[in-house]
């Protein structure tokens, strides 16, 4: 049973990678369909999450280096 699951997982991995190449070849306009859109609340969650995260490139903390400063 376990080996079947491993085989299935390998097939899914192969299919999934092939799908990336296929989707990549399609123009963005191909997906202009409301039914293919994730719910707005999910997008809003992501945007809110991003705003709560501070990039290390954005903070103004002074960089201290051992025996340099």
């Amino acid at each position: 049973m376990n080996s079947n699951a491993t085989e299935d997982l390998a097939k899914l991995e192969e299919y999934s990678l092939a799908l990336i190449d296929f989707f990549d070849s399609l123009p963005t306009s191909f997906f202009d369909d409301e039914n293919l859109s994730p719910p707005k609340r999910i997008v809003d969650h992501i945007v809110r999450y991003s705003k709560s995260q501070v990039s290390p490139f954005q903070n103004n903390a002074k960089l201290y280096r051992f025996s340099v400063n």
């Binding site: 997982l9 299919y15 989707f23 997906f31 994730p38 945007v47 995260q53 990039s55 290390p56």
Partner: protein, 196 residues
């Protein structure tokens, strides 16, 4: 800055890393349908697809803010690759998740009549046993009958029984002992069953 909608993916990524939050929104809106469709085609369940979509972009944000994105002109395929890893991880975990069923075991600790509700038949048999015990009790000498009633029907301790009947604790214990011996003898003699 030129019109944000016309910016390339790479310019948007660079601007986002520099602190332009709006650029992430443009990136998401530009590619969300493609990424979501990709995930949905793999997992075939809307709720799971939504979870994976959210986790994918959280990883995207973390990687971008840590400077882990290397531009090769294929932002969407980079995001799909992250989604791919999350989907495979999800199914790998599912594979290792063992489902335990009671049916797999011959003996089930909880599958006992002790934990089942009494049936009507059980109740009838139990009331018959109580009736038999009461009849046997009536056949005992008065002093033994009194101790059994005070101990088992009224819940008194032997100390209380001794005080109540005006005898020592040892006498009360002795009367109980003889009461039980006599009742056991009567059960055998009359061939009475006192179990359900």
């Amino acid at each position: 800055m030129k019109n944000i909608q016309e910016m390339s993916d790479n310019s948007l990524v660079q601007a986002y890393i520099s602190g332009e939050e709006k650029c992430l929104q443009v990136l998401i809106h530009r590619h969300k349908n493609k990424i979501y469709s990709y995930i949905l085609m793999l997992v075939k369940q809307q709720e799971l697809a939504e979870d994976v979509f959210q986790d994918t972009f959280i990883k995207v944000i973390q990687n971008l803010k840590r400077g882990k994105y290397v531009d090769n002109g294929r932002f969407a395929s980079w995001v799909m690759r992250i989604a791919h890893n999350l989907v495979i991880d999800f199914y790998r975990k599912q594979k290792h998740m063992k489902v335990v069923s009671n049916d797999d075991n011959d003996y089930d600790l909880l599958n006992s009549t002790k934990y089942a509700e009494s049936t009507v038949e059980d109740k009838i048999v139990y009331s018959q046993i109580l009736s038999d015990v009461s009849e046997l009790l009536e056949l005992l000498p008065d002093n033994q009958k009194e101790v059994v009633k005070l101990r088992h029907f009224m819940g008194l301790s032997f100390k209380d029984i001794a005080e109540e009947t005006g005898v020592s604790i040892n006498t009360a214990l002795g009367r109980m002992r003889y009461a039980l011996i006599n009742m056991r003898a009567m059960v055998e003699e009359k061939n009475i069953s006192l179990t359900i």
